[in-house]
Every structure is written in C-alpha cells, then in structure tokens.
C-alpha cells in the first residue's frame, strides 16, 4: 500500500513538471500562431479504443497540432452531429469511461508536451464529483477543461474548484450570445475562448464569412484571451480565410470522420496526420 502511494506521488510530481514545461494553453496559441492560426485537434477518446486514441494524439502532435482536445464520450451528445455521435457510440461500446480518459491523458503527458483539453458533457464529471475530477485531471497533467452543456450561470462551483487545481476553464461563445453574455463567458474563461462558428451541431460545413468576423470583433471587445473558432471547420480554404482573424481553429468531426473512413488502423493515423499538416500549412 505504501509503495503504491509513493508511486502515485512520483507520477504527480512528474506530471506537474511536464505541465510546467508545456506552458499552458495561452503559450501554445502564441507558439502556434507564428504561422497561421493555432490548430486545435479534437478526437473522441476511446474511438474505437483508448490505445488507438493514444497513437492518434501523438501522431497529430508530431504533425503540428498545437492543442489536443480529448472528447469524453457521452450517451446523449446533444451538441454533436452524426460523426461525433457515431464516435461516441463506438467509444462507449469499447467500455470507455472518464477515469479511463484521465489515465490516457496521463500516459500522453509522459510522451508529449502538447497541451491537453478535456472536452465533456457535464454529467460524467458530476458523477465523478467535480473536486475529484479536478484533482485527477490536474494530476494527469491536463491543461484545461471545456464542458459543453455548462453555461456561466451554473458554473460557479465548477470554476472555483478548477481554479484551485490550476486548471484552465474554457467556455463556449455562440453567434446567439449577447454582448453581456460574451462578457461573462470571457470573465470565466482561462486559456482561450471557444467560439462556435454558427448555429447548429458539430460537423456540418460552415461558411466563413461576415457573420464570424462580426462575432470575433464583438468577442474581442470583452477579452484579450486567444479566440479559437470551431464547428464545421475541415478545409484549408476555411483556415486560410480565418488567418489573421482568430488565434486558433478547432478541427473535430473532420478528423474523426477521416479515421472512420480509413478504418482506425495505421492508414487512419497517416490520413489524420496528413489532414493536420494540410490544415496547419493553410494560410492566407
């Protein structure tokens, strides 16, 4: 028993060290932005296995992903389109749980310095207990957490707990958010603000045009944090159009679909890495 406790302590120490090295999310955006917007890569953890996700994240980091979002699969992903719904189903079928995803984060942290953001619906976190979740995420070397269905109004206790564990809290801003709401979203966000590019669920294509520009402008009035845009970003032309406007782009469904279509094997790893490189190179 004592031996195990000692081991836990050692892991905690090492992960704290690595997290310090990773310099957190803001730094990642600064680094990433030197050439075009930083690339935030989303994958559903455990799709179709945690082993595959581990390899995939390492390959994407090598290929130039500046931040990786690990999606915690949930049975009822109301904000997600069909691609991530299918990924969540595969991950749950494989027995993926939040503790399993946290262990994956810890393994990744030992092998790569890419900052990790956990992306989850609220219920799995609630059932683990926010305090326990935050402690374990911090020990695993996670940089930040985004809860899809948690708005600033309900987030008080959650934010306080994550702050105590020095975890960044990323909140969503939407095209429908009023200026007042953008202010409270910005106030509670750390690391970066995730701007939803359009109404709707993840995956369906987004037209990068005047609405996003106006939205980014409105959001920038409330925050100096990096702004990353996501939902329906999959093509180099979109990334190029966002170059100079935002600090980062989030690519999710496109990567998940890419792995699905290539069968989640070695070919899938290569295809996903290629997509990351292509999007990373895209700029105006």
């Amino acid at each position: 028993m004592r031996k195990r406790r000692g081991k836990k302590k050692a892991i905690r120490k090492r992960s704290l060290l690595l997290r310090a090295k990773s310099n957190g999310l803001r730094a990642a955006f600064r680094r990433g932005k030197r050439r075009g917007p930083a690339l935030v890569a989303y994958v559903t953890a455990g799709d179709p296995s945690l082993k595959f996700t581990e390899k995939l994240v390492l390959r994407m980091a090598e290929a130039g992903a500046d931040v990786v979002e690990l999606g915690v699969p949930f049975s009822d992903p109301i904000a997600d389109g069909p691609v991530i719904q299918r990924a969540s189903e595969r991950a749950l079928k494989a027995g993926t749980t939040l503790p399993g995803v946290l262990k994956l984060a810890e393994r990744l942290r030992r092998k790569s310095a890419v900052p990790l953001v956990l992306f989850s619906y609220y219920n799995p976190v609630l059932q683990m207990g926010v305090e326990r979740f935050a402690a374990r995420a911090a020990a695993a070397g996670v940089s930040g957490v985004l809860i899809t269905d948690l708005t600033p109004e309900e987030a008080g206790e959650f934010v306080r707990t994550l702050r105590r564990h020095k975890l960044d809290t990323v909140f969503l801003a939407a095209p429908t958010s009023s200026n007042g709401r953008l202010r409270s979203i910005a106030r509670l966000s750390r690391g970066f603000v995730y701007l939803i590019a359009r109404r709707g669920v993840t995956g369906a294509p987004t037209e990068v045009g005047g609405e996003i520009k106006g939205l980014v402008k409105r959001l920038r009035r409330s925050t100096r944090l990096p702004v990353a845009v996501g939902f329906g970003i999959s093509r180099p032309q979109q990334v190029a159009a966002l170059d100079g406007l935002v600090d980062g782009v989030v690519v999710g469904s496109a990567l998940v679909q890419c792995c699905e279509q290539t069968g989640h094997g070695p070919a899938a790893l290569e295809a996903a890495a290629e997509l990351v490189r292509t999007l990373k190179e895209a700029r105006r």
């Binding site: 949930f74 049975s75 009822d76 992903p77 109301i78 904000a79 389109g81 719904q85 189903e89 749950l92 749980t97 939040l98 503790p99 619906y121 609220y122 219920n123 799995p124 976190v125 609630l126 059932q127 683990m128 899809t148 269905d149 948690l150 708005t151 109004e153 309900e154 909140f171 969503l172 801003a173 939407a174 095209p175 429908t176 958010s177 009023s178 709401r181 979203i185 939803i196 109404r199 709707g200 669920v201 369906a204």
Partner: protein, 409 residues
C-alpha cells in the same frame, strides 16, 4: 409546505431547490431567455389568457368532466373514486393544454415552425394539431421503437400535415427523440420554436409547461368541492416527465390534508434498464441519482460513470430516464410520494377500467389506476381519491389486444 413558498418556485434561474436550472450549449441560452421573457409577458397579458381560454374551451374541449366512477368504487370497496377526464380532450390526452399555450407563444415570437419530440405520440399529435390550427410548419421526432408500438399516432400526426422523423440512435425511444429535437432547434433557432411536451428540460420549460397544465388541478378543485363539498384525500397520477401529475397536483400543494402519489413505470424488473422509476423504486441497483440530462439537474437513471441508461416500460409515454426537476424537489421535500407499477399490473388495470366503467385508458394512466387498485380498498368509504386519467387508450389497442386473455383477442 406553505402555499406561498410553493408558488415562488422556481427561482429566477429556474431552480427548484437544488434541481432544475439551465444546462445547455451556449447557442441555446439566448432562445431560452427570449422564450422566458415572452412567456412572462404573456402571463401578465389578459389578451393572451383570453385567446388561450377560448381555444382550450372550443378547440380542445375544456373543462373536462370530473367523473365519479361508481361501479369501480363499489368494486374496489373503499374510497370514492373520481376520474379527471383528460382523455376526453381533443387529440386524446392532456398534452393539448400545453401545446396550445406554447403554440400561441411561438406565434407571438414570430416563429414559423414547431419542433416536437414524442414518445407515446400524444404530444406529437397535439403539437401537429396546434400547428395546423395556427398555420405553422411542424416536425415531430419519434424513436423508431415508439413509431412501431404507437403506429396509429404516427398516421394521425402525418394526417395533420406534420412531418415525422424516425430517430434511430440510442434506445430509439423518447430520450433519443429529445436529443434530435434539440439538435434541430440549435440549428434552426431563428425560425423554429421547440415545443417541449413535459415539465422537463432547461428553464423555463419546467415552469411554463407546469403552468399551462395547472388548468387540470384548478378545474378539479372546483369540481370536487361542488360534488363532495370537500377536498380530496388522495391524488393519483402517472409520472413520465411528469406534466399531467404536476398539472393536477399544483393547485393542491398548499393543502396539507391532500396526499399525492406519483406513479412511475416499474417495467419488468428493478435492475437498471428494466424500468423507468427515477423516484419510486428504493433499490440500490436501480441506478437513479441526481444528474444532468436534457438541460436540467434532476434524478436520472444512469450507470456509475454518468452514462444515461436505457429504460423499459410497456408504455412509451413513461419510458424516459429523467423526471421533471420539480418532482425531484417535491420528493425530497416529502410533499409527494412516488411509487412504481409494473407492466403487467398496468395492463390489468387498463382492462379493469374498461370492464367496470366502459372507459379504455391509455397505458400511461393505467399505471396510476393500478396503484388505485391497491390503495382504494384500504381507505374509508367516505374518503375521496382523484385519479388523473391523462389520456385515452385508442393508441394502445395493438399492445392491449396482444395482452387480452386467450380467446378474447
């Protein structure tokens, strides 16, 4: 609990004690706020009330009778049994009360399209009827399994000019239909109103749907005072999301002498996945714990990692893993007692009512009737029970016919 305290719930952010609230993706917050403002304005507007009351009377058929079930009372040999006849309403269930209210609101907000989910199909039919009446487009999401077992209602929804979209994800029942309806709404928030059918979901739905359904209890109170010159001793209603139950209970919550019982679906066993009893089953392995589903914090059937469980009930309208947050609050406060009744008992109670009173109930209120069969004989003959007969059984004839005693089918 004091009546005044009850009437101030939920608080400004939609909380009933620890329950309720608004847990949705950011995109949906603005439309929920817009809806809440519109609803609060409408509630204070006499013109809105007049239009709604007119439609409730002439389109839906209110007030519904409070029927003294004399033969059933004699058969059970205990308390006097009254049935609140929501089954006689246009489209066949209490759902129309809420649909008319929300439909009028949607029209005020300038929405051109209604989105709805449906389990048993009654809410889908009622929404489609209101959409036709108001000249709005209508899309109804329905789980594939529910479409098979409530086929008649699918035809009715289509006959009313609405589109039914089969939902093939997850358990293919009500939970998954709500997921799809929310995804549609988040995509079409400008043009569409999400007409949620129960006291579930994010604020303001639990409050607003409750208010629109409270007409049931207001009528019942006046009717029982006329018939019996006294308040009832016990109210009985089935609880899926819980709108018909809240609708009956609300008016009586301040009356300490009136006991209330909510009846959930016990399905075919107490293991997780075999039932839909969020509040009523006291079993360690039944899996009911507070959590967040579909925008609200309430009791939810789930596994230990917070994944939402599938449920089972013979009745599609009760087959849902969460319950309205106000019910969670009323349970913790001890004001309402919740219990569960299994598939077989509900089917037997449906037959009993048909044979004793000439009324075929829907399988949902048949659960409340099954509890009545247990309770009434233990009460005194001068005591009074009101059962909310929330819907009629036409939609369930396929299922009922398979369960008739041999030789009758």
């Amino acid at each position: 609990m004091p009546r005044a305290a009850q009437q101030t719930l939920p608080d400004a952010r939609g909380h009933f004690g620890p329950y309720g609230g608004r847990f949705v993706p950011e995109t949906l917050v603005a439309p929920l706020e817009e809806l809440e403002r519109a609803y609060r304005r409408a509630r204070a507007d006499r013109g809105f009330a007049q239009t709604l009351n007119h439609l409730l009377a002439d389109f839906a058929g209110r007030p519904t009778p409070l029927y003294f079930a004399e033969r059933l009372t004699r058969y059970l040999g205990g308390a006097r049994v009254y049935l609140k006849r929501e089954d006689l309403l246009h489209t066949g269930a209490h759902k129309i009360n809420n649909c008319l209210g929300q439909g009028l609101l949607a029209a005020r907000l300038g929405k051109r399209r209604l989105i709805a989910e449906t389990g048993a199909g009654q809410h889908g039919v009622a929404t489609a009827a209101v959409a036709a009446h108001l000249g709005l487009k209508c899309t109804v999401y329905m789980g594939e399994e529910d479409m098979a077992r409530q086929r008649l209602n699918v035809v009715r929804i289509e006959m009313l000019g609405a589109e039914v979209i089969p939902v093939v994800s997850g358990s293919r029942t009500l939970k998954d239909a709500i997921n799809e309806a929310m995804r549609d709404w988040v995509t079409n928030v400008e043009s569409s109103h999400y007409l949620l059918g129960s006291v579930c979901g994010a604020h303001p739905y639990p409050m607003m749907v409750r208010d629109f359904q409270s007409v049931i209890g207001r009528e019942a109170r006046a009717q029982i005072l006329r018939a019996e010159k006294r308040l009832p001793d016990l109210l009985l209603a089935c609880v899926g999301g819980g709108s018909n139950a809240i609708g009956l209970f609300r008016e009586f919550l301040g009356e300490a002498a009136v006991k209330m019982l909510g009846v959930e679906a016990g399905g075919r066993g107490s293991a997780l996945g075999e039932h839909a009893a969020r509040l009523g089953l006291r079993s360690r392995r039944n899996g009911a714990r507070p959590g967040v589903l579909h925008g609200t914090y309430t009791y939810v059937l789930q596994d230990k990692h917070g994944q939402i469980s599938t449920t089972h009930s013979v009745s599609a309208g009760l087959d849902y893993p969460a319950v309205g947050p106000e019910h969670a609050f009323l349970r913790d406060a001890g004001r309402v007692v919740y219990t569960a009744v299994g598939d077989e008992e509900a089917l037997a109670a449906a037959r009993l009512l048909a044979e004793q009173e000439g009324i075929i109930p829907a399988l949902e209120p048949a659960h409340a009737l099954a509890e009545l069969v247990k309770r009434a004989p233990k009460m005194r003959r001068n005591q009074v029970i009101i059962v909310n007969l929330s819907g009629r059984g036409d939609k369930d004839m396929d299922i009922l016919s398979r369960h008739l005693p041999t030789g009758m089918a």
